[in-house]
Amino acid sequence: MTSPFATRRPLVWATMALAAVIALGAGLYFGGFADRGNVTDLRGKEAGALFGVALPDAKGREQSIGQWKGKVLVVNFWATWCVPCREEMPEFVKVQQELGPRGLQFVGIAIDDVPKVEAFAAELGLNYPVLIGGYGAIELSRTFGNRLGALPFTIIVDRAGRISHTQLGPIKDAQLRTIVSQLL
């Protein structure tokens, strides 16, 4: 009998190889689903309807989202009553400050009333426009894949007006920067 090591070696390798294949498959399958699990995947689709949306700002002036077409647009649905929304916004302010000159434009859509939005915007030193959506804006977000109608919900649109990314829940700083820097 040869060394048992010699006979088992191919088996060990076969086991490892098969495990790797299974892991890769499972990773693609579950990873792919989990990533888009809470939103309908609309990446690559035209964001046309978004540019047709017009909502009042805090001063009551109607603002069309179409005015920012051609920029890398980050539309963030939020509310003051949503703690995770408020928590990610200071980062948005920083990124707007840094990358705004390169053509990045954040636009907030608040599911909220004017006094609260103004108070929070002042507290935060918000440097990008916020439109007042009311609960109707939740329905608008649903049309962009936010099936649960929850907040925060963010849509990133490229310069050509195509949806590059949608996200329910806070968007990590590194992920945000990675996505937008590829589009700028």
Binding site: P4, L11, G27, W81, V83, Y135, R147, G169
Partner: protein, 192 residues
């Protein structure tokens, strides 16, 4: 990293096996076991990755409402709040038709949280129950209870306020409380 573990475990098992035909058969078996273990570990690992962005519940399932007619002049409202989700005490609102609330419901105290923007807020987790005293009610009357609630998930999302409603029949005086009735939301489609 974790994929390697079952293989190294298999190697360990092989090391303790006797040489010869029986041993070889056992080796083959334990290699199959190793493959299966690898598969299980791989799946577990990948669902671990999936758990980093967990599947969120629809609000009516995260905050499941039921109403029970207690006696001819009161109903009890319950929310079963899924683990990892919470409701705001201040956002709870109740209305009853055609009877009316006899007084403002006595909401149980929640867990106090300090909110940098809103100040002190109270939240509920697990089970929430409140008794609603009614006026203008009569035995056998069917009353519709509307409950408005607003909550969030620890995963980092908040749901807008939602109104759920349940209709229950009030029992006769001295009669048994009715069975709890769940708000059963109609599914719009298979996909939501």
């Amino acid at each position: 990293m974790r994929i390697v573990r079952p293989s190294s475990r298999a190697r360990l098992a092989h090391g303790t096996l006797p040489a010869g035909r029986v041993g070889a058969e056992l080796m083959l078996k334990s290699s199959i076991a190793g493959i299966l273990t690898s598969a299980v570990v791989a799946l577990t690992f990948c669902s671990g990755v999936a758990a980093a962005e967990p599947k969120l519940l629809e609000p009516e399932r995260a905050f499941a409402l039921s109403v029970q007619a207690i006696d001819e002049k009161s109903v009890e409202v319950r929310f079963v709040i899924a683990q990892g989700y919470y409701l705001y005490r201040e956002k709870m609102k109740f209305a009853v038709e055609p009877a009316a609330l006899a007084s403002a419901p006595l909401l149980p105290p929640g867990v106090v949280k300090d909110d940098p923007f809103f100040g002190t807020v109270e939240t509920y987790r697990g089970l929430f129950a409140v008794r609603l005293p009614l006026v203008g009610a009569e035995p056998g009357l069917k009353v519709t209870v509307k409950a408005e609630s607003q909550g969030c998930a620890d995963a980092g999302v908040c749901y807008p306020p939602q109104v759920q409603s349940v209709t229950v029949a009030l029992p006769a005086p001295g009669g048994r409380p009715g069975a709890p009735v769940a708000a059963t939301p109609a599914k719009k489609s298979w996909f939501n």
